[in-house]
């Protein structure tokens, strides 16, 4: 299928006082095909959320290109910008912070409608009711306020808000990590059902690997602002190549105490280094169990090791 969005060598720097630069995203490239779910995983602070926010144009990229439906998003006209806003929407991480406490659910959900189309009161109300029912709430909820809902219900409201402008591409920024485990599955299933019904494309950002495996078609692994491995979901979990991916996967607990006790875990040493003054060469070199001389000097490039499976690691570079 055709690529819906292509990200090419995307960079985002934040200036943090006196000339220091935090490279939140440092040359990330990937593409997402129409109708698929692309999972983006990595530990806290690796730039997942920033990537999502750059993609919805909440942040201006410092370098690189985002090509959406064949058009570079930095050169969109005003009308095209508006269309992009309608097309690309976001679901946020914290359902307690992402809803304005002083607005009723109806006003929250209708915000996208208010901005992009002028509807009559009745049409607006009908649209809100329809959206609420789509996400598993009912129309009685429209007149209430966020504090009257549970975390899972709030996240449903957030999803309804994002769907109001009839988007094609939804960026889910850790939409389940702030929820109870019992609610997480509900929300993920809701997202999958909506994807099927509306034919959406997802970028699913998460740090919960088992959930990403469940929902994603392809997965990208990020470390300190760079992608280290991209593969089909099944392939990645069956055959991880990058040492960081392997370490991540081996950190997933196995629900069998005997297996869990005997298996070999690939443990990581040390802490994630600061993205300010990141080390030269491979960013993972300081914690990598297979570190070589070249790793601390040259940044490895993304190489396609198997069809659809790319990895940036010197272990696989031909000498």
């Amino acid at each position: 299928m055709a690529d819906l969005i292509q990200i090419q060598d995307l960079k985002k720097n934040f200036h943090v006082g006196t000339g220091r630069v935090l490279k939140a995203i440092d040359g990330v490239s990937f593409s997402i095909r129409e109708g698929e779910t692309f999972g983006l995983v990595g530990e806290s602070g690796c730039g997942k959320t920033t990537t999502g926010r750059v993609l919805v144009r909440l942040y201006q990229p410092s370098g690189g290109k985002i090509v959406y439906k064949g058009k570079d998003t930095s050169t969109l006209s005003k009308d095209e910008s508006k269309e992009f806003c309608r097309d690309v929407q976001m679901i946020f991480q914290d359902p307690y912070a992402s809803l304005n406490p002083r607005m009723s659910v109806e006003d929250i959900v209708a915000e996208g409608l208010d901005i992009h189309m002028k509807l009559t009161r009745a049409a607006r109300r009908a649209a809100v009711h329809e959206l609420l029912e789509l996400v598993g709430l009912n129309k009685e909820h429209a007149g209430r306020f966020p504090h009257e809902f549970s975390g899972g219900q709030r996240q449903r409201i957030g999803i309804a808000r994002a769907l109001a402008s009839k988007p094609r591409f939804l960026i889910c920024d850790e939409p389940i990590s702030a929820l109870d485990v019992s609610i997480q599955a509900q929300i993920v299933n809701l997202l999958m059902r909506i994807q099927k019904e509306l034919g959406l494309t997802y970028l699913f950002i998460a740090h919960d690997l088992s959930m990403v495996k469940y929902i994603s078609d392809r997965v990208g692994v990020m470390y300190l602002g760079s992608l280290v491995e991209v593969a089909d979901s099944k392939d990645l979990y069956a055959n991880p190549m990058h040492p960081y991916t392997r370490a991540l996967l081996s950190a997933i607990p196995i629900p069998d105490p005997d297996l869990e006790a005997t298996r070999q875990r690939e443990k990581l040493q040390g802490e994630i280094p600061s993205p300010i003054n990141a080390p030269p060469g491979c960013k993972f070199s300081k914690r990598c169990p297979h570190v070589m001389d070249v790793c601390t000097k040259v940044m490895p490039e993304m190489i396609e090791l198997a069809p659809g499976h790319t990895c940036a690691c010197h272990l696989y570079t031909k000498k």
Binding site: R53, V56, R57, L58, K82, C85, R86, V88, Q89, M90, F92, Q93, D94, A97, S98, L99, N100, P101, R102, M103, S104, V105, E111, G112, I115, H116, L137, N138, E140, H141, G143, R144, F145, H147, E148, S150, Q153, G158, R161, A162, A164, S165
Partner: protein
Amino acid sequence: MSGGIVDKGREGGASAARGAAAIGGATRGRERGMSPFRLSMRRLARDRSAMAAAAIITAFIATALVAGTGAFGIKEAATVFDENSLDTMRYLPVGTEGHVLGTDGFGRDVLARSIMGIRTALYLGYLAGLMTVPIALLLGAVAGWYGGLVDDAVTWLMSVVVAVPGILLIMSLIQIVGKSFTTMAFAFAVTGWVGLARVVRGAFLQARESEYVLAARALGAGDARIVFRHVLPNVFHFVTVNFVLQFVGVVKSEVFLAFVGLTLVGEATWGSMIDSARSEVSSGRWQNLIGPTLFMGIFLMAMTVFGDSLRDALDPKLKNAEEVRS
């Protein structure tokens, strides 16, 4: 705090019922929810001391309004002044028939003047608030919203205003611009905006990065929509509370200014009355001290109690924080 416990119990019960309704779907849910503002008003209505204070304040306002129309001859009794008389010893003691709080040296009724003093206090406090709020909102919002150099400049300005003793600034401003209630109110505004502006700045800084503002931005909302729909409503309660509490400060400052001679001669203000009492008390004439002190004491207490309760009612987070601490 028993009210708070009852309140929580009820809310817990209500949310449990709502949960059941949402899952069952069959139970009829409420059509309109309770907005945070309505919840605050309900909390305030349940606060007995706040309601008592509100009643006192309402009574003061009503009295001032009625007296201003000239009804019951209050205005007349407060300003009667015989230009041709050089007699400034027409004191009548407290408890004289027809003059419950006595009269001052010009034969003006102290009770009537104290009542007219409410008008001055209300007018000054209101005017000062009306001038403070726009200054504070504008500067705080601009600083918090734009950040960077603009923020630095406004923060610097705040530090400067805070560093200069407010009362000195007020005194010099009044000396320069001239004595009038408007000038006085303006002077209070110029010195009093910093507190509110700081809070507003903080709220804007916080809101700018909050997820619901990001969500609105992602939906394509412009700056105006974000500021007016998402940020300002979350600042509103600070403004209200600040407005009420500033009243207290302004009324107190008015007395102090009168004491150092910055008052409007001939106007019935609590400050000028207490100022004249300064020389009279030594000769055993208490009426000019008793009247305004009584009125001012009750008024300021009511205002303070109401302001504090209002803050608690509008900002439950703050109240909870205090409960945890104590």
